[in-house]
Amino acid sequence: MSKRRSDWQSRPQNRVRQWFHNGFLALDDEIINQVTKETLRMDSDSEMDKHQEMLDSHRHERTLALERLDQYNIQAWANTRGRKALSRIYVTISFVLAFVMIFFLLRTVATMPRFSDPNAPTNNEVMARYIEKGLEETGAVNIVAGMILDYRAFDTLGESTVLFIAASAVLILLRIDRRKDGTPVQELIAAESDDRHYEPRSDRILQGSAKVLVPIIFLFGIYIMLNGHLSPGGGFSGGSIVSAGLILYLDSFGFEKAGKFFTYKTFSWVSFLSLSFYAIAKTYSFYCGANGLPSGIPLGTPGAILSSGLILPLNIAVGLVVACTMYIFYALFRKGGL
């Protein structure tokens, strides 16, 4: 790609054009410089140089690593004939294993209950109670929401914990810590430069469409989140839609602007508050249920937005956790922090 572009630039008619448009180009360069300086918040040129130096050294390290890799590849190619035979055996065994497995599973499927059979074992008294009494006992019009947030709430609490622990694991893997006095370490600067390498600098089309789209996406996500007990959807899908909006905002306006309302602190506080609300609410409800105490949470009229007891607040809590978690995943992947 880059090669082709340099060819194109060196063609004679383009040189003429370049010379003709020189003034505009210079203007463009000036704008780009200003924008980068603004986004980097670099006052002095020396810091800019430092940045460039870091970037260069990072690139240099990468080239070195790639060379080393090539050497290894050549070596591995030369003296691993036995290894290749081994890997071929491994491939064959895996294929045979997979085929045997598919064969047995297909035989099993042939003897499983028929598809869409009303008399299949799955359509038993458990499912009948969920449908017949679900509305009355949980107050949720959407029976699936009633089931996962009331009848089988322990699983769903576990599910939210999975998300939380996954976020913590990704934090362990990817977060780059700052020094104690708050100054960034070399790795962080390198990661930031690397992140900015491909970034479009204030792309007007992107920003314009993001300005239109982000509110709509937010609205849609929040609608799905709040109506989880009335219509399809719920905390999880709503939360991921909201996080998609957040990611779009971040991509079009950059970390600087997104950081004004969403920092690492926001993430930790929001997920902490909603998860602890979730855990405390469910502890209370389990405790009441197991000890035969009335929980005292009104179910409301089915179909109204403020109904079905704890399901609505739990959906909101799950949605917030999901939105924050997905956003932090994205930010961590991009530059190891917010």
């Binding site: 009331d150 009848y151 322990f154």
Partner: protein, 498 residues
């Protein structure tokens, strides 16, 4: 229902809440919260054990407002309470003995994330021990998988990253098989709770409908849990992961987490399917053969290692083999021996990893055997603890390992013909091999160091770590001398597990 009946539920929720709260705490506070939560769980489980000893049967505890086939529930019996007490006690000892090394493997700002992982791993272990619902088993197994991944990967060198990638691939495969098995079982029975499942399975066996899918389901779930607990042919991920993880994480992973998977498998066999079906489907023979070959081959691999941590990791594979051999005998006596081995191995293996780390530490962080010469003199307590744990591994009298081997041999004697001979020969060979490498290690840590190796002086480990290790050694000796009450609890508990 008294307040004590609620204690198992409190302990699970306490661990989960501690995990969530720890994310907001600073390092010191997070550490103290984790310690006190584990201690609290230990106390609560001990109270539960005392309660269940007075009850005749296990009792269900509703997680929600709805009774058995509709809502979710946990079920508490004396075996579950014993396991919870044992595991939380081991975790407490391991944390006290190993947490002061944390600056060497996790950066200061990530210490609280490490604490989250410990809390949630304990929550998952407890939930798996107590739960009575197959889908809850799936969810908490996933939590445990992620927690153990993160526990290993806090040390981010190349070896750990490669080992953990292998680990994740194998475990994801296991999770897939497990979920497929659970969904097939749901498809042919229509239940997820264990007691209704058991009735439905009985019906399937009687009427003969869907027996083919039932066999496939048992095979899928058994192989999934075997992969996750590093049974012999599926152990490929285990040695590297255990060897290159931080010592505390290896202790938790190999000592506790793999045991929780096996406990789930035992519950699946006894409570969901019924042991008679397992025997008639030849699943138990398969486990028996895998277990006994793992016992021997794991030791053979261990002998050929030059890195002491890898040697211990491979011996873990061998010890898991004992558990599976006991389980594969198909008799109650065999399973009791397997359960007792789970407890003994949890204590022994966790203290072995920590003591080894102390020995390596005083030898200038070098793992080859000839650098370890004289390490037993440089850190006397760790040397003694290592010796006691090694003797238990070999099966020396007056240690826990001896009782395990005795029980396995006795339950093997109940069989006639080739099976009896096989059990005895496998036990003898594996004991011999264990003796070869563990006694060799013990001898080498008490050998005179060669003059030309310079050992750097290191900061001594604090007294409480040494005290915790000593307590573990005392527990190992106690399990060898006064084990009868625990064996009785296991025996009675296995009857109420169904």
């Amino acid at each position: 229902m008294s307040i004590v009946h609620n204690f198992p539920f409190f302990s699970i929720l306490l661990c989960m809440a501690a995990g969530i709260f720890t994310s907001m705490f600073k390092q010191k506070l997070a550490k103290w919260v984790t310690f006190s939560v584990v201690f609290a769980v230990f106390t609560l489980s001990a109270f539960t054990l005392a309660l269940t000893l007075r009850l005749d049967a296990s009792y269900p505890f509703m997680m929600g407002h709805f009774p058995a086939p509709w809502g979710n529930e946990i079920r508490i019996g004396r075996l579950e309470a014993l396991m919870a007490t044992g595991f939380s006690g081991v975790l407490l000892l391991a944390l006290i003995a190993g947490f002061h090394h944390s600056p060497s493997f996790v950066s200061e700002q990530k210490t609280n994330l490490y604490c989250i992982m410990v809390d949630l791993a304990l929550a998952a272990i407890l939930a798996l021990i107590y739960t009575n619902d197959l889908f809850t088993v799936y969810v908490f197994i996933e939590i445990m998988t992620i927690a153990s991944c993160a526990l290993v990967v806090v040390r981010q060198n190349g070896h750990t990253l490669v080992a953990i990638t292998r680990y994740m691939i194998m475990h994801l495969l296991g999770s897939g098989l497990l979920l497929l098995g659970i969904s097939m079982l749901y498809g042919i029975t229509g239940h997820l709770l264990m007691q209704p499942l058991n009735q439905a399975v009985r019906q399937i066996v009687q009427t003969g409908n869907y027996t083919g899918p039932l066999t496939v389901v048992i095979a899928l779930i058994t192989s999934a849990l075997a992969i996750k607990s590093a049974m012999f042919p599926f152990h490929v991920w285990a040695p590297d992961t255990y060897a290159f993880a931080p010592p505390l994480s290896s202790a938790i992973l190999s000592g506790l987490i793999s045991k929780a998977y096996i406990f789930v498998l035992i519950k699946f066999f006894y409570r969901v399917i019924g042991m008679d079906v397992i025997i008639s489907q030849n699943i138990s023979q398969f486990l028996f053969i895998c277990g006994s070959s793992g016992m021997i081959l794991g030791s053979v691999f261990a002998i050929s290692q030059r890195d002491i941590r890898k040697m211990i990791a491979y011996s873990s594979v061998a010890q898991i083999g004992y558990v599976y051999m006991g389980l594969g005998m198909g008799s109650n006596a065999g399973t009791e021996a397997a359960l007792f081995q789970m407890l003994v191995h949890a204590v022994v293996k966790s203290v072995l990893f920590l003591a080894t780390y102390e020995l390596i530490n005083v030898s200038g962080d070098r793992k080859r055997f000839h650098y370890l010469h004289g390490a037993g003199y440089r850190n006397v307590v760790a040397g003694i603890v290592f010796t006691v744990a090694s003797l238990s591994m070999v099966g020396f009298p007056f240690t826990g390992g001896f009782i395990v081997k005795l029980n396995l041999a006795v339950s093997g004697m109940a069989y006639g013909g080739w099976m009896r001979a096989f059990v005895l020969v496998a036990l003898a060979v594996s004991t011999l091999l264990n003796a070869v490498y563990f006694l060799h290690t013990v001898v080498s840590i008490y050998r005179r160091p060669s003059q030309d190796i310079v050992y750097p002086s290191v900061v001594k480990s604090p007294w409480y770590a040494m005290a915790a290790m000593t307590v573990s050694a005392v527990v190992i000796l106690y399990l060898g001398v006064g084990s009868q009450p625990i064996l009785d609890i296991i025996k009675e508990g296995l009857k109420t597990l169904i």
